[in-house]
Every structure is written in C-alpha cells, then in structure tokens.
Amino acid sequence: MKKLFKLAIILVLLLTLPLYMVMAGGKKEEAKPEGEKAAEETGNLERYKLSEKPVVIDFYFVVGVAGPLAQVIDGMVEEFNNTHQKILVQPVYAGNYNQTMTKVQSAILSGIPPDVFVVEISELYTLLAIDGIIPLDKYIEKEGGDTFTGQYFDALYGNARAEGKIWGQPFQRSTPILYWNKDMFAANADRLKAAGLDPTRAPQNWDELEKASTILTDREKGIWGVILPGGWNDWIFEAFVYQNGGKLISKDAEKSHFDSPQVLEALKFWYKLTNELKVSPPLRPWNQTPIDFSSGHAAMMYYSTGGLPLVRKQSNFDFGTAFQPKKVQYGTPVGGGDFHISKGIPPENQDAAWEFIKWMTSPEMAAFWSRESGYICINKKGLDLPEMKKYLEEFPNAKVAAEQLEYSFPKIMAPNFQEIRKVFVANLDAMMQGQQSPEETQKKLHTSVQKILDEY
C-alpha cells in the first residue's frame, strides 16, 4: 500500500507538471513592472502629488525580435520619469508588431488613443488613412529643422515622409543582415575553397550563397545551410527583390509590381533553396531562427540586426555579420518601428510626447538603446560617444546594419498594409513549403495585392 502511495504521488506530480510551468510563467509576467507600478516603486507618484500634477501620457511599445527588450524599454522610461518632473510616461507593452498595430488602431478608432506609440514603419499610410497621427514638423522646426533631422541617418526618414510632411521619428530601426558561423566556415574550409569560395568571409552574391549553403548543409547533424525565417519572410523577400533591381509596388501605392521578372527570379531562388536543394528549412518561426543559429543548427541566417544581443549571448562560436548578398546590386528595405504622436489628445500631451521622443532618440539614449537591442544607432552623434566607440571596436558585428543603410530602400508602404502583409506572408509560406510553384505564387500575389491596392 505504501508503495502504491509513493507511485500515486509521483504520478500526481508528473501529471500536474504543466500546471507548475503555468504558475512559474505567470509569476514571471507579474514581475514585469507596468508604468504605474514602476513609478510607485521609485516614489514618483508621491513626489508628483506633492508638487504640481504631471502630464500623464500612455506609451504603447512593441517588441519585434527575440530577447528581453521590454525590460530595457521599461528601464529607459523609468529614467525619463526620474529626470522629468512634469511628465509621467506609462509604458504599455503591446506585444509583437501585428498585435501592437491592432491595439493602436482599435484605440484610435474608438477615440481613446495612446498618446505616443511605436508601430511598424509600413503602417504610416494606414495611420494617415484613419487620421490618427499629427505631423511632427512644428516640433522639428522648433528644434532647429534640418540641423535636428541631420543628426539622424536620412534613410530612416524614408518611411516617415508623406504629403510633404514628417509623421514619425525613427526609433527601433534595423535592416536584415546575414549572420554567418565563422567556425563552421573554417571547419569546411577545404570544401569551400574547392568550390571557389573564400572561407574567411561571408558570401557576397546569390551564387556564392547558394554554393556555401549547399556545402554547409549537413543532414545527419541537422544543420541547415541558411535560414530564411518565416513570420517576416515578406520583409526578407523584399530585400531579395531590391537586390535583383526590382520593386514590389509603385511609390504612390497604386500599382503592384509583383508581376515583374525580378520578383519571379527572386521567388525561384527561394524555391530552389528551400525545395530543390533543400538547404534552407521550409519555414522557421521568426523567434526560433536566432535560437537555431546560435545553437549551431544553421551555418547562416537572414535576420534583423535586432537579433544581435541574443546571438552574441547564446552562441559559443565565433560569428560574423555581413551585408545581404547581392544579385545585381546590394539592397535591403529598412525595417523596424517609428514613434508617432496621436491626433485626438490634448496639446499638452502632444508636447509631452514630443519631449519623450526627443529624449529617447537623443545621442546618449540612441547609443544605449543600440547597444542593448542591436538596433541601428539612429543618431549619428551617438556613434561618436566614447562608450559607443568602445563597443563598436569590441563588437564590429554591430556596425554592419548601419553601413548597409547606404544600399537601403524605404520599406513597402500602403494603406491597410496588414491585409497586404497577410497575403504576402501566406503565399510565401505556401511556396516555401512546396505547396505552390514560384509562378503560381507570383500570379496569386500580383492579383491579390493589386485588388487590395485598388480598394483604397
């Protein structure tokens, strides 16, 4: 009987295992301080109550890459609140890019917008179509106009300009870059050399990429040559189209160029890597990809520069970053999220929001954010700070994304981008998993994207 009891206890423990995991997970989430909680802890609220009432603004932010960036943002906001007596920013983590856009859009349309928020840069036309944001020109003028914007990489304003105005301020900005496992290249040096490749540098064009991926794929050990990650495969694919000298849609967002031969060629190349040569996995979740790479399950990956801190921390091998290989030219869309200020809020909240944005993108904060997140140091003055110089010297991999800006294009923008993105990703998914041919994919993409563009 005693034995039976022991057995029963073990069984209970085993069967309720997921329950503990839930409890553990739940606690972790609770530990994340929300704006008010953080303020209470530092005694902010008390102080405010004693002096004049601060302007309280809600800040919706997004975390778009794997890693603990929510805590970094919370910390930055806390510092802002500590140094700005008259403003209290309440940070709200709104999920990934899709979820954040859904929340922001619902909030705007129901008349209770967050005061300041970060969403993905392709959403600008949607924000304009629902009349949700204000132009930032008057604030920029006050700060000195071109001298102010001149601090930032100009390529990053490409997705913030429309109708002759500036509607957003760059913040968590990135380009996709090619990560490569130097140790793996070195271990296969002979075979790479035999194929005419240099094992001490990353592939520089599609041809080299294809060869290197084929050589480095090891099915026995479960190693992929290169990962083209899912989830944001639309963004990575856009880069391939630019590299091939093409584009996705016209600049006025009226005509789809998905029917161009450049797009077809890029589709065919992806199909070849994933389905014919099978050197790239059919579909890898976005947040899974850097984990695969840093655990040695892939020789190369395309990923946002925002994956750098995670890969740096987790990989026990020497890795490098490089420009994405070219076809006819180097090319990449910029990516990431910009700050926006809502329209339907009191002017003092808008002013406070601008103060906050200005502070968050100051040289010091931009450099700090870049070091913590791996995103581009958007403020060029930040690059001259001693701690940033030291960091880049120690970790030159962090330079690549900003250098690649020279070859960057503004990211695709259209009203109701969410709908285009849905179709785009779904069709790429289907092709990467071998369910439809590149030709079929092109046809479907062109007709559905054109249909969506026609509606607005």
Partner: protein, 291 residues
C-alpha cells in the same frame, strides 16, 4: 393547455432588456452591416447587396477556412466525447484514488486558455520542446508542429482536446451517477459482461449528457480563438485559420467591418442550422427517464 399568467412577461422583461442591448441588437446590426461596404477607410456604410457574400463564396481562402473549421470540429468533438465517456466510466468504477484521477483529468480546465496556450507553444517547440525530444529519442523525425502547414491544425486540435476533456468527463460522470445501480445488478444477474453492460445500459442512459456535450462542443469548435491567436495567428499560410479568427482579422486587423459582419452572419447561420438539426433529430430520441 393552461392559460399563461400575463405577469410572466413582466418578470422576463429585465433579462429581455439586457439581451436586447447586448445580444439581439448587435446580431441584427451585424446582419445589416454584412450587406454594406464599411470600415476604417470608408466610414460611411455603402449598401452593396450580396457582394460581400459573393466575394467570399468565390474566394478559395474562404473555403479553405471552412474546411479547417470542419476538420477542427471532427478532430475535437468525436475524440473528446469518446475519451471523456471512457474515462468517466473508468473513474466511476475505480474504487481508490478516484479524486486523484478526477483531478488529473480536470486540472487543464482550471488553467486559463492563454496560459495553457503558452505552455503548449513550449511543448511544441521544434528544438527544445518535450514532444520533439521524445521523437528524437525514438529515432523518429522531429516535426515542425506549429510552423508546419501540415501539422499546425493538428497541434491545435490536440491541445484543445487536452484542455476540454476534463470538463466533458465531469458532465458524463454526473450523468453516470444518475443511472440507477439496480439496472447493472440486474444485468450482472443475467450474466452480461463489462462491455455489453455499458453498451446496452450506460450509453443509452447518458443520452441527455451526450446531447449536452455534443451541442456544447459543436459550439465550442466554432469559438476556437485564444489558442489560434496565441499559438499560430492562423498560420503558416492559412493552415490553421478558422472562421472566427478570419472574422477577427477582417474586423480588427484589416478594419473591414462590413466583411467581418458577413462572416459573423454566416457563422450564426451555420450554428443555428447545426443546433436545430441536433435538437430536432436527436433531441426527440433521448431517453430522459431510466424508468
């Protein structure tokens, strides 16, 4: 027929008012909007007849989503019901540790859907998740689960069965305990074996519970949202997208409220139709009284 006391309508009034505001009005409004082009980008509804419906019927994605719904229904309802009944019978017959077994099966019900979904995201993780680790130990090929079109819907089905099994089992258990013991005693005296006993006594007599479980799980299978939202966002491609998630996408991601209303209306029609059939055909044949 007895004449109704008119005062009953007075007593029904409060609940009728609430239902009207929060249920009937939105339903009729949605049906009305479903004939319009309406959304964030064209805030004034434009009447366009059946166009939304025709667009959907012509859209292959819509049919894939309906198919996913049917597959999800088949994949969850039957296994859940059969397993719930079997476990209920077993637990009913087990003498010792009954509470322990009941708890083991019932606890998934107590976990919030969102938390359970996150746990299963980990369980399905292609490189670290326990399922794939076991597959690797057995020298089988690991499966991409949520990231693979072929398995994403199955993965969600498994998780949903796990989550709901305990609740339905409890309902069956309650049904079983209402069956008079003397029927089984009589059957034993007549010399029936275990399976005959359950086939001829248990299954017919838990009829009301079965009907209840069936109707609830049919409705549940159309209401599957949380786990899809958190685990796959309907992907990869459209492989785990279902009617209600598509409605959400049209409503709150694409902000086309007209089309979202069309999908809602279609869903209401399908559900009403199913429930009517179930109650109409099956409801009459149920044995409510053991005597």
């Amino acid at each position: 027929m007895k004449k109704r006391d008119p005062r009953i309508f007075l007593f029904l009034l409060p609940s009728f008012i609430f239902l009207s505001i929060f249920t009937y009005y939105p339903i009729f409004d949605a049906v009305g909007l479903s004939f319009h082009r309406y959304g964030a980008f064209n805030p004034k509804p434009i009447f366009q007849g059946l166009k939304n419906y025709i667009d959907f019927f012509k859209d292959p994605i819509f049919w894939q989503i309906i198919l996913n719904n049917v597959l999800f229904g088949l994949g969850t309802i039957l296994p859940t019901m059969i397993m719930a009944l079997i476990f209920a019978i077993l637990i009913n017959e087990v003498r010792s540790l009954r509470t322990f077994f009941r708890l083991s099966l019932f606890y998934p019900m107590l976990i919030p859907y969102a938390a359970a979904a996150m746990v299963w995201v980990f369980i399905y993780d292609p490189s670290l998740g326990p399922i794939n680790l076991i597959l690797k130990l057995l020298k089988l090929k690991p499966i991409g689960w949520l990231g693979d079109s072929r398995y994403s819907l199955i993965a969600i089905i498994i998780m949903t069965v796990w989550k709901n099994l305990g609740y339905y089992m409890l309902i069956f258990l309650a049904g079983l305990q209402n069956i008079p013991r003397d029927l089984y005693e009589a059957a034993t005296v007549e010399g029936t074996n275990w399976s005959q006993k359950h086939w001829h006594i248990t299954i017919p007599l838990v009829g009301p519970s079965t009907l209840f479980v069936f109707v609830v799980s049919v409705i549940q299978s159309f209401k599957v949202f949380t786990q899809i939202y958190l685990m796959t966002e309907g992907g990869p491609g459209y492989s785990s997208n279902v009617l209600i998630y598509r409605t959400y996408e049209y409503g709150f991601k694409f902000w086309q409220l007209g089309r979202a209303s069309t999908l809602t209306t279609l869903m209401i029609m399908i559900l009403l139709f199913l429930v009517l059939i179930v109650f109409g055909v099956w409801g009459r044949k149920i044995t409510y009284q053991a005597a």
